[in-house]
């Protein structure tokens, strides 16, 4: 092998075994940002290696370089000891590198086998392929039916298709990008079992995530990135969440504080009430809402757990007024029948809303923060007689920036020049400052760095303590446990009853997410894995 000389002369590690993949001094620069700055990474044979870092730390760029999607500006890649250049994903697959992306690339209207056939570099006859799919899927505990249409499959099942698609090429290195962000706790366990089996057969796995518990449960070794640079290497099992987080963030974190309600506290008035809300969607791949009942009182935070795609989008639209309900009594806001009211009218009653898409929905990308303050702020006096009060709008934006520590060049900064976390702080700040009685927040900290996430959560908790009724929809269970008084689960368009957070366990939520059918063997294993984390 051409690589042996350099290996021998190089390090002590190479005497043990040639690593499957070694990156040295990888740098990648984009206009305005350095995504990777001299990053080293080594993955051994049969090793499950975590790549850990906050959003924007450079994880995705590094993986795109390994998979041949982009080229590094500097640095070298060694594959099984030999230096290689990976010009495109086809070359990466040829080497034996497979990647499962965070966002799936499946055609909804095609079957599993058709989707897989599309991605193969060499054509395989259809019945042959179907057999291979069944063989591989059985061998690794990933049951899928090759003839099934993709649109009828759950997100977890789709991920299986993506994994099987990679496994068909017998990869030696499998890259998984945030694989659990769309899975129920049970599905996560199944995935872990598959990954462990693959590792025992000598397949190396690069596991990208920011979820510390998972990494400590699953991974043998970890590389931690911060701001595009290598921040450290670790054996996750020997670390605590706290020490890992410190390597990720670079400083200690402040926890947010939710003071539990005392039993003798007077319950607040019901401010948001859904009564037998059913709503069908025209989107062929959307979810119909069925018979949803929910009450949110003043001074409490209710969390809605569940995987996106189970009716979250539809429920949010029905709450905000972007979709009208059938009966005006389906939704009551501050006691008023609001089901047939439009978004502006619901805001007039006292509703504010933070949507999950920040750019393009919560804020207009091309407009300044001042102009974005006006988006929903018009009703608190920024508009008189149809004319815009520029000074008041500017002051409002300035106050929001100062109060929520939004990092930007000033109130004239354009919304899309802000990082996701800072824009979210601005939007949450704006909606908070509009004196809401009811506030609905979707995915409050999606893609937000840990520091900003804690600040946003604390702001929402402060609002609750000031007597506002809050509804938070989130995929992050940890977050819901951290900030909610009660939690309900949305699964397949149906909402479970609400339970006080203290009485709920992760396993119970997992069962509710799966539609309420408990699987005893699965749940006990789940409890074991999740509780010790």
């Amino acid at each position: 092998m051409s690589g042996t000389f350099s290996d021998m002369s190089n390090t002590l590690q190479s005497t043990a075994a040639t690593p499957r993949l070694r990156l040295r001094g990888i740098s990648k620069r984009y206009p305005g940002v350095i995504a990777n700055d001299g990053v080293d990474l080594t993955v051994g044979v049969g090793e499950i290696h975590a790549l850990l870092g906050e959003n924007g730390a450079g994880k995705s760029t590094l993986m795109k370089i390994v998979y041949g999607v982009t080229q590094p500006d500097a640095g070298s890649i060694e594959w099984q000891g030999a230096p290689v250049h990976i010009p495109n994903p086809a070359a990466a697959r040829k080497l034996g590198i497979g990647m499962v992306f965070q966002h799936f690339s499946l055609f909804e209207t095609l079957t599993v086998a058709e989707n897989i056939a599309l991605s193969l570099d060499k054509p395989v006859p259809a019945d042959e392929l179907a057999k291979q799919i069944v063989t591989v899927s059985q061998r690794y505990g990933l049951p899928i039916d090759p003839q099934r249409l993709t649109h009828s499959m759950s997100v977890g099942e789709r991920q299986r298709v993506e994994i099987v698609r990679c496994l068909l090429q017998s990869p030696r290195l499998l890259i998984m990008d945030e694989p659990t962000s769309v899975l129920t706790p049970q599905a996560v366990l199944t995935l872990f079992e598959t990954l462990r089996r693959l590792a025992s057969e000598g397949v190396s796995i690069l596991y990208i995530s920011h979820k510390l518990d998972e990494i400590r449960t699953l991974c043998d070794t970890a590389t931690i990135l911060r701001g595009g640079k290598l921040s450290g290497n670790a054996i996750p099992r020997n670390e605590s969440n706290h020490t890992l987080a410190r390597m990720m963030v670079g400083s200690d974190l402040q926890e947010c504080r939710l003071t539990p309600r005392q039993p003798d506290d007077m319950p607040g008035e019901i401010q948001l009430e859904l009564t037998n809300l059913s709503l069908s969607t025209i989107d062929p791949f959307g979810t119909h809402l069925q018979d949803i009942n929910l009450r949110v009182r003043a001074g409490e935070i209710i969390g809605i757990a569940g995987i996106s795609g189970n009716g979250q989008k539809e429920l949010l639209a029905a709450l905000s007024g972007e979709a009208l309900c059938i009966h005006s009594g389906d939704v009551r806001i501050c006691g008023q029948y609001a089901g047939r009211l439009r978004p502006a009218q619901r805001r007039d009653i006292g509703l504010t809303f933070v949507p999950e898409e920040r750019l393009g929905r919560g804020a207009v990308p091309a407009l300044s923060l001042t102009d974005n303050a006006l988006l929903t702020g018009a009703r608190i006096g920024m508009v008189r007689n149809g004319l815009i009060n520029k000074r008041m709008t500017r002051d409002f934006a300035r106050d929001t920036i100062a109060q929520f520590q939004v990092k930007c060049s000033g109130e004239q900064a354009v919304a899309n020049s802000l990082s996701g976390g800072n824009l979210q702080k601005f939007i949450v700040g704006r909606e908070t400052k509009l004196n809401p009685k009811v506030m609905i927040v979707a995915q409050p900290t999606w893609g937000v760095d840990i520091g900003a996430a804690q600040m946003i959560r604390q702001a929402l908790i402060d609002l609750r303590d000031a007597g506002v009724a809050l509804l938070v929809i989130s995929e992050e269970l940890d977050e819901l446990f951290m900030m909610c008084d009660c939690i309900a689960v949305l699964a397949q368009g149906r909402l479970s009853p609400t339970y006080p957070s203290a009485e709920l366990s992760r396993e119970r939520i997992g069962v509710l997410m799966a539609g309420g059918v408990p699987d005893t063997t699965m749940t006990s294993r789940l409890a074991e894995a999740m509780m010790h984390a």
Partner: protein, 372 residues
């Protein structure tokens, strides 16, 4: 191997955004020189005849304002819609319907209305254009049809309707069977801006409307709502700005102004209704709106430039016997170069050197090995 790719600029330059129309105009001039040379005319003489000669007299300046007026009016209305993502392509049709409605008032009620005739004609023109634009607005908000196609097709209906009237009941009985109406009475003709030219007070209306549209876009909440609807429709829905209201407003305003331009044209230089009342002002206004960066001041300048292209085209036809299509050629080139310049404001061309072939071969030769 070299290959080029477009890379998005992190922050497009503001200066370049404003300079782009100037660069496009310059590129158009250079291409014009080449085109004149290819046609066998001395390029500099042709340029003089095209761009300088029309402006050499006060009559010529009047003609410039006369041609710029309908362009500017139509473009002001269209720009408002374009900014809010409503694509009214049929200003030419709304212009024609405005002319028909205002002309009808002049022909049939001009005598009875007396001194009220002109205000009533202008009002009728505005309503005519608005009504014609209401059709695409209704179909879009009710059945989600494309306002681009509907407004465009309505142009031809409006023009044929005008021809139908002029071949039928509106034809001047003493007009030797020409398909045209009677000439308008003097008191139904717009007063001239200055003696020795044909420009009318319509140019003043256009200036006033430019100022109003600037106020509307930058100071009023209604203007802000339309801007948000154009930039980010989902954000408009989130904030509770009605999409339907936006579509109606954009189409009615642009239709109304195009209708006003139409009636001003027949009640001005033409002085009667005839089958051809516009050399494509409504379409050229689309170019004017974009060359003017959808901003009132830019539109004022762009409409003067476009008017000069019309005048220059006529001038070289007369003095150098060049074909009439030259005006269209220049208009098209201007838009083409503007779009190209805009592309380079947002993106830059990057030369990327492909990896050497040996490096690629390396990856292919290093085939995966069986597991260790």
């Amino acid at each position: 191997m070299l290959n080029f790719k477009l890379e998005r600029r992190p922050t497009p330059s503001h200066v370049m955004r404003i300079a782009a129309p100037l660069i496009a105009s310059l590129a158009m001039l250079i291409t014009a020189l080449i085109a004149f040379a290819a046609l066998g005319t001395p390029p500099l003489a042709a340029l003089y005849s095209f761009f300088i000669e029309p402006l050499a007299s006060s009559y010529g300046l009047g003609e410039l304002l006369l041609k710029a007026t309908p362009l500017m009016l139509c473009a002001l209305g269209l720009a408002l819609g374009f900014k809010s993502n409503v694509w009214n392509i049929g200003a030419e049709g709304q212009f024609t319907m405005g002319a028909i409605a205002g002309g009808g008032v002049a022909l049939f009620y001009g005598a009875t209305l007396g001194s009220l005739a002109i205000p009533m004609m202008l009002l009728a023109g505005i309503i005519g254009g608005m009504a014609w634009a209401a059709i695409p607005a209704f179909l879009r908000t009710r059945f989600n049809t494309s306002e681009i196609l509907v407004s465009l097709m309505l142009v031809y209906i409006a023009q044929l309707y005008l021809a139908y009237l002029l071949h039928g009941s509106w034809r001047d009985p003493e007009g030797f069977n020409f398909p045209q109406s009677k000439g308008f009475d003097d008191h139904t003709i717009l007063p001239l801006l200055f003696d020795g030219g044909r420009a009318t007070y319509a140019f003043v209306f256009a200036l006033i409307l430019a100022a109003l549209s600037w106020l509307f876009a930058s100071k009023t909440f209604a203007g802000y709502r339309m801007l948000v609807s154009g930039l980010a429709p989902a954000a408009a829905a989130y904030a509770g700005f009605s999409e339907k209201r936006n579509i109606w407003l954009a189409l009615l305003i642009s239709g109304a102004i195009a209708g006003l331009a139409g009636v001003c044209e027949v009640a001005g230089p033409i002085g009667r209704l005839q089958p051809s009342i516009s050399p494509g002002y409504g379409f050229a206004a689309i170019i004017v709106a974009f060359v003017g960066r959808l901003h009132p001041l830019g539109i004022l300048l762009a409409s003067l430039l476009m008017a000069l292209l019309y005048l220059g085209g006529e001038s070289v036809q007369l003095s150098l016997q060049l074909p009439a299509a030259i005006t269209g050629l220049f208009q098209g080139m201007l838009l083409f170069y503007l779009l190209a310049a805009d592309l380079f404001v947002g993106f830059r061309l990057k030369r990327s050197v492909r990896p050497t072939s040996s490096a690629v071969a390396n990856a292919v030769i290093d085939t995966p090995q069986p597991s260790a």
